[in-house]
Symmetry: C2
Subunit: 444 residues, 2 copies
């Protein structure tokens, strides 16, 4: 690494094991090994770094916020790879209020972007439980909890700068929204990890901060009521509908059992089989020409209850933060319950429920000691299908057998994507090799 240091006198470089520790371990306990960590501070330094690594024949691995869940953000175990971290890539932050866009370096964290946009009444609308960097969000095309309203990263990225593996700086598109001048090569870099280059900068669409939000917990009479409810809400609330989240009894139970600060909002604390978190949003401050948004949500639900053929058992209104705390507590709760095998599956919206129903029968039969603790985004077809097993039952062989069985069922029977939001990475490589990326639909 002395040669690398000499080749890059100006680029920040870590080589102490203690300094490199946080770059070689993933959030789900994965571990790797790094020869060094480079932290370029500009696209120019990134070009220098890539060229020097190429010249020395050193393999490298790009890392953003290291918040990924499929093991893709850390280096391999050989100790031969240099980690290129984008965390110091923060030289550009230019808000364009009139164009409603932001030119930003890849190293800014989502939370930092939103803090800096807040004084302008704007925000970046991809909503995640973790706090990744912008570059990593583009490289994995993250979606998140408000996909229903704002779509995924692809929908927000207007332009990119990236450094190719040959060390060339390439600009693709820019702040212009309408530009149909042939193949949009920029799209290749979105959701492709760093296969086409290291993303150093982006131009992003930004949105007005929602100033009003109304939230309700809805208990449907049964699973068959969920999609009609979603459809009725889309028809009655339109783009005000910003979340439609599904929570299973088991996942809620896990959250309340393990997170003592969570408040149980249900009558007598009795958890329903299924609860739905529904949220409406409006960008403006409450205005005289509008009915209060909480009132609107109540009236819409009342109209659905009375007029449409949707079986709602109960609807609880209350503090949004309490409800979202419960929703966001599901992951942690489930993780505390036992050994967790987590799946991040994408379906047609109706198949989220069909798949669950099938699993409740077939999985329970095939693997009787496994508990399903799922939740997800029915509005966009994303399902966090979590299986919890007794730690004593866990083994690598059992996990693999179970994982293969679940993915096979999801893909072969329901045309699912084996990775809705998290990308491929070592954890999904096997399924990518087997299924590729296309969900089956027949060609006539």
């Amino acid at each position: 690494m002395t040669a690398l240091k000499s080749a890059l006198p100006e680029v920040d470089m870590l080589t102490e094991v203690a300094d490199m520790a946080r770059f070689v371990s993933g959030v789900r306990g994965e571990t790797g090994k790094a020869a060094a960590v480079l932290r370029p501070e500009s696209s120019k330094e990134m070009v220098q770094a890539v060229c020097a690594l190429n010249a020395l024949g050193i393999r490298y691995h790009t890392q953003g916020g290291n918040t990924g869940l499929v093991g893709a953000s850390i280096p391999d175990a050989t100790g031969e790879q240099v980690v290129i971290s984008t965390e110091r890539l923060k030289d550009v932050f230019e808000v364009d209020l009139e164009n409603r866009s932001l030119r930003v370096s890849a190293g800014f964290h989502l939370s930092e972007v939103n803090e800096r946009l807040e004084p302008h009444g704007l925000f970046f609308p991809i909503d995640l439980g973790s706090d990744p960097q912008i570059g990593g969000m583009i490289a994995t095309n993250t979606g998140g909890g408000r996909f229903l309203r704002y779509g995924d990263m692809r929908q927000q990225v207007l332009g990119l700068a990236l450094i190719t593996s040959a060390g060339e700086a390439v600009k693709l598109r820019g702040p212009v929204r309408k530009a149909n001048t042939g193949t949009d090569w920029m799209q290749l870099a979105i959701g492709s990890a760093s296969d086409f280059g290291i993303i150093t900068e982006a131009v992003l669409n930004i949105e007005p901060i929602p100033r009003q939000q109304a939230t309700a917990l809805i208990v449907p009479k049964d699973e068959a009521a969920i999609l009609p409810l979603l459809q009725a809400l889309e028809r009655l609330a339109g783009p005000m509908l910003s979340a439609f989240e599904f929570m299973s009894h088991a996942a809620m139970e896990a959250a309340f059992a393990h997170i003592p600060t969570l408040r149980n909002p249900f009558a007598n604390g009795v958890l329903p089989q299924i609860a739905l978190l529904v949220e409406l949003s409006r960008p403006n401050e409450p205005a005289a020409w509008e009915t209060d948004l909480d009132e609107v949500l109540q009236q819409i639900l009342m109209a659905i209850w009375e007029g449409e053929d949707v079986a709602i058992e109960d609807a609880l209104f209350g503090r949004a933060d309490t409800m979202w705390a419960m929703r966001h507590g599901l992951s942690e709760g489930v993780r505390c319950t036992g050994k967790l095998y987590a799946f991040d599956l994408g379906f047609r919206r109706q198949d989220v429920l069909a798949f669950r129903a099938a699993m409740q029968v077939d999985l329970t039969q095939q693997f009787p000691d496994v508990q399903i603790c799922d939740f997800g985004h029915v509005g966009d077809g994303g399902l966090h299908f979590n299986l919890v097993v007794d730690p004593a039952r866990h083994s690598a062989t059992f996990e693999e057998e179970l994982r293969d069985w679940v993915v096979e069922n999801a893909v072969d029977r329901f045309g699912a994507s084996f990775s809705a939001e998290h990308g491929i990475g070592p954890k999904n490589q096997k399924y990518f090799d087997k299924y590729g990326q296309t969900q089956p639909f027949p060609i006539n």
Copy 2:
């Protein structure tokens, strides 16, 4: 062509000059020549057609609705090319209500799609003045008048089937919205004409039909008031804002002069320097919990007038169809005024106005006998920059000189896209060769 007919006994084929006439002339008067016209009725027939053409060494040109404005939809003048028309590709039309998606053959016209979706309360939200086929809309990534609300085709396409130049049928993605399993190759085919294959089928996102719309014509005090007004509307109306269209005095004058059925809505018929057509939409039928949408629009405009630093001179409310008739009459009106040189430019939103201002000075100086008759979509940065000249002044040399000068100014000084919505085609090839497709933004 006898050999081709023998190779494709089942595929519809035209060879009479009269039958082929509508396939070889474009809407802006371009002409080409075809050896034959093939009209496959399924992806399977399309495979056969491409394979037969390859085997016989015959060049071909794919055509959708033939509504394009850059000469890209008709064959060249050699008479060697066979036209492959997608107009009979109509074997698939499957509405998925729960997933809110549509699987559709490429040959359906936009109007046909919407007619068939209407009974379900759904529509395909790309709004265009012409009536292209779905395949062509994907191949050119059309945007249209409600881009502000629904984005472009890319935002609506969930899956594609295409036939490669080798005659292979390829499926890319499908009805699943969240699927991050590596590089999204499907994106390459969107907006790339048929460079990566002939699109035969798509899975599209569809939306609830807007049941309420409120429209106003706004006269800003000056150009400086336009962007603050747009920003205030985005903050106050959020996703209800579905159009923000800009119309110049000259374009409106041309429309009223040449289209006698148009009603002039302005006081005493005096046209302002600039008018803005603003539209709000809601998907639901009018409901008890909401203020009437016309009232909402009036109140929002009143709030802007009183509270914000936006100089509005006048706001006219009235029948939406009258206002949109005026907006849609601009093209025809301008065309009747003289020889038209039309440009379809994409800018950052603020640069639409900056470019106009610059042109009013510089173009008028450089080309004093040219009249600017522009209009466009300020909300998304699209500008239909139309120049009208005395037909006696027109010559191919003059047109080219003028065109080059305008594009040079737009691209070099304002970082514009020389084709916002229409693609490349023979008309823009020269600018593509010169500028490529990237709008300049610096790399730090």
